[in-house]
Amino acid sequence: MSDAKTMKLVITRFDPDVDAVPRTQEYEIPVQPDWKVLDAVNFIKDEVDGTLSHRWSCRMAVCGSCGMMVNGEPKLTCKVALSDYGDELLIEPLANFPVVRDLVVEMEGFMDKFKSVKPWIITAKEMAAEEGTNRQSPAELEVFKQFSMCINCMLCYSACPVVANEPEFLGPAAIALGHRYNMDSRDEGQAERNEIFRGEGTVFSCSYANECSEVCPKNVDPAAAVNQAKLNAVIDWATGLVIPRKGP
């Protein structure tokens, strides 16, 4: 395509083998008008500086790999257009995560949190495959569907002011995932998960800043999930019993 222009990208570099602290590096590159931010980073990697490290794969906003801070805001870089920005762009690794290298952040802590909410269907009795499927009305599906859309891109952790100061906080995506299963009509694990949600550093640590929902690229609205989970945990605590399950 024609009408290429030049743009300056300031990118955080960090190689633990060499650098004591992160540094920044500037790249002046030609960009195309229809590029996403990721395209510019890929161009640098392929054509300018092979030592730059970042994660990406699907380039269609569904694999969740390419989250970075763009001008200080957590963004899925394959989803945001370069043309939304001026002539200069600051690109940093996702905030609130330890940095492995350059734009690559440590995910292990997140994966542990993710697993800790028991993100699977818990039932007293498992159904055999030959028995067919559960019945689930479209309305019952609607109750949790939104919360099942999370692509684990972790932008919400970068935006969350609680995570910033309490790295152990279970955090938006993991709580939303636990809540997604709690609200699934096929699941019977609410008591177990509510027990988890009443533990330290979980739902009640949330201050409902709503920042997670502001940055979520898939409109999961994790803040809604977390605060619904709070109410459920309170009711569960108050009754001391499993919430009677009933669909709308």
């Binding site: 633990p16 699907c58 380039r59 290298r101 994966m111 479209p138 684990n152």
Partner: protein, 572 residues
């Protein structure tokens, strides 16, 4: 010396097939330790990008017979019919399991699972969860797999070599991307589930990670690649990016139109009959190319394109059943499909071919299994029907897992020293590649040359002369790739090193595709020769095998398993 990790079953690949295999092993034998080795975290695997659905007989007006016939006809009679029969019979149970594990399938009002129409399928048998089926299936499988403590994940480990002792595959050498260390991950059986190789082409729906790693691993270990010439072009990708616009758009009633506003699949004879937009992918892709060649296309900055028109479907249906398509249209091409047609053109989507396996997923190398797109179990023949592949990952992932358990139970652990020595060798090889500044070839340059050779030679329509040129270019690239220049000497998350290893894999796979294509002098399914326009059952009703040889690939043949359905003219 490299570190050694011992497990019972080693699975390479964390997508649908790999996870399904891991779950099958964990459920059947909780005492067996499973290593799940994946170069990306499982939820990043490319299954995530599948959109339209997963096929299995679900309705009263459907039958295994019909699903089987559709599949064999779609395959242009190159699929193995015993495989098809097993597949269609197992498919419903597999999708039921996904439902039990929490997959948010879209529902009918009575609470049953909804199904939609898909190309080449006679009736509505494609299960769906809006138009993010791969995403939901992958996340369901991944989350469900977390409950099994026997599954040990090696996330962001790049498997670079199969370790073979005594003629049996007993593990992999894998590079921990995080630390740069190579280790030997050993087991008594290995399952490959690394998916396809769309990135050998410049214009593909596939994510960056789809570089044919598993195919190359098996190939270099002496296992033939089967039916590699059959590369599926999806009719509807976005120009420029190649982002997939699901066939479900047509399943829900969308139209394909040329620049004259004509539904050419209805107005002209492209062999799809009354199926029109719901014809099989190979035929529709060819029809689009012919429309472009006839001058009935739009011109854009990324070449010529046609229109996929959903405007008559209405906002409500699009938001309910195709919300992702709307999102993709708006973000990646600036078109809201509720109001405007989507520009589309055929795009490389899927490899029908892959590692040669039997119905169990077993390869010719004892102890090595393969499932999913990396494998060629011969379900898809010369052309896959949309929505069969997600189900294939489940059916044959599970089967490979269970058969691997049987094999492992009757097999020893092998000679650890010998296996470790191979991994040591691999480490030396990788250490030599990392930061190899003395090289003269640029990774991105070779990659560009490879993909453009593939586009020229192995497109929707193939010419003998361009195919020959493609084979020559690839042979040359295979030589040049040994002189790669790498600037990054760091051991930590060295993605340049990964790119180099992926490029080496891709060139091997690309060469197998081109050589297999040059050898098949007929037109069948997705393989269409300009010079040989007819299907030739007399001479070519066989599977192509392509085996590695340092001097260049060697070709062989394998019989097609026929049975119920006799080859007939493929007319819809």
């Amino acid at each position: 010396m490299v570190d050694v990790a011992r497990h019972d079953i080693v699975i390479v690949g964390g997508g649908a097939a790999g996870l399904r295999a891991a779950i099958a092993v964990a459920e059947a034998s909780p005492d067996l330790s499973v290593a799940l080795v994946s170069k990306v975290y499982p939820m990043r695997c490319h299954t995530v990008s599948a959109e339209g659905g997963a096929a299995a007989v679900a309705r009263a007006d459907d039958s295994f017979e019909m699903h089987g016939y559709d599949t064999v006809k779609g395959s242009d009679f190159l699929a193995d019919q015993d495989v098809i029969r097993y597949f269609v019979e197992e498919a419903p149970a597999e999708l039921n399991r996904l439902e039990h594990w929490g997959c948010p399938w879209s529902r009918n009002d009575d609470g049953s699972v909804a199904t939609r129409a898909f190309g080449g399928m006679t009736t509505k048998r494609t299960w769906f969860a809006t138009d993010k089926v791969g995403f939901h299936m992958l996340h369901t499988l991944f989350q469900h797999s977390m409950r099994f403590d026997s599954v040990v994940r090696y996330d962001e480990y790049f498997a670079t070599k199969l370790l073979v002792d005594g003629g049996v595959c007993r593990g992999v050498a894998a590079l921990d991307i995080r630390t740069g260390e190579v280790s030997a991950i050993l087991g008594r059986a290995v399952i490959l589930a690394t998916g396809g190789a769309g990135r050998i082409f410049p214009f593909t729906t596939n994510g960056m990670i789809k570089t044919g790693d598993g195919m190359a691993l098996a190939y270099r270990a002496g296992v033939p690649l089967k039916d590699m010439e059959f590369v599926q072009y999806h009719p509807t990708g976005l120009p420029g990016t190649g982002i997939l616009i699901t066939e479900a758009t047509r399943g829900e009633g969308g139209y394909l139109k040329n620049s004259e506003g004509e539904r050419f699949l209805v107005e002209r004879d492209y062999g799809v009959g009354t199926k029109a937009e719901l014809g099989p992918r190979d035929m529709i892709s060819r029809a689009i190319i012919q429309e472009i060649e006839a001058g009935r296309a739009f011109k854009g900055p990324y070449g010529e394109y046609l229109h996929l028109d959903l405007t008559h479907l209405g906002e409500e249906l699009i938001d309910k059943r195709l919300p992702f398509v709307r999102e993709l249209g708006r973000i990646y091409i600036g078109v809201d499909p509720v109001y405007e047609p989507i520009p589309i053109r055929p795009v490389v989507h899927y490899m029908m071919g892959g590692v040669d396996t039997d119905i169990d997923g077993a390869t010719t190398l004892p102890g090595l299994y393969a499932a999913g797109e990396v494998a060629c179990v011969s379900l898809n023949g010369a052309n896959r029907l949309g929505s069969n592949s997600l189900t294939e990952c489940l059916v044959f992932g599970a089967r490979a897992g269970l058969v691997a358990v049987e094999f492992a139970n009757g097999s020893s652990a092998g000679n650890e020293d010998a296996l470790r020595a191979q991994a040591d060798e691999e480490r030396a090889h990788i250490d030599a590649l990392r930061g190899r500044v003395k090289g003269g070839e640029k990774i991105s340059q070779l990659r560009r040359e490879m993909t453009s050779a593939m586009e020229d030679g192995c497109g929707v329509y193939r010419h003998q002369d361009t195919l020959r040129a493609c084979v020559q270019s690839l042979a040359q690239l295979r030589g040049r790739v040994s002189d790669l220049r790498l600037e990054d000497a760091s051991r930590v998350f060295n993605t340049e090193l990964i790119s180099a290893l992926e490029l080496i894999n891709m060139i091997d796979v690309a060469e197998a595709v081109a050589i297999s294509a040059l050898d098949r002098k007929e037109s069948r399914g997705a393989h269409t020769c300009r010079e040989y326009t007819a299907r030739d059952d007399q001479n070519y009703l066989y599977h192509t095998l392509c085996s590695f040889d340092p001097a260049g690939p060697r070709l062989g043949k394998k019989d097609v398993t026929l049975g119920t359905w006799e080859p007939e003219e493929r007319k819809y």
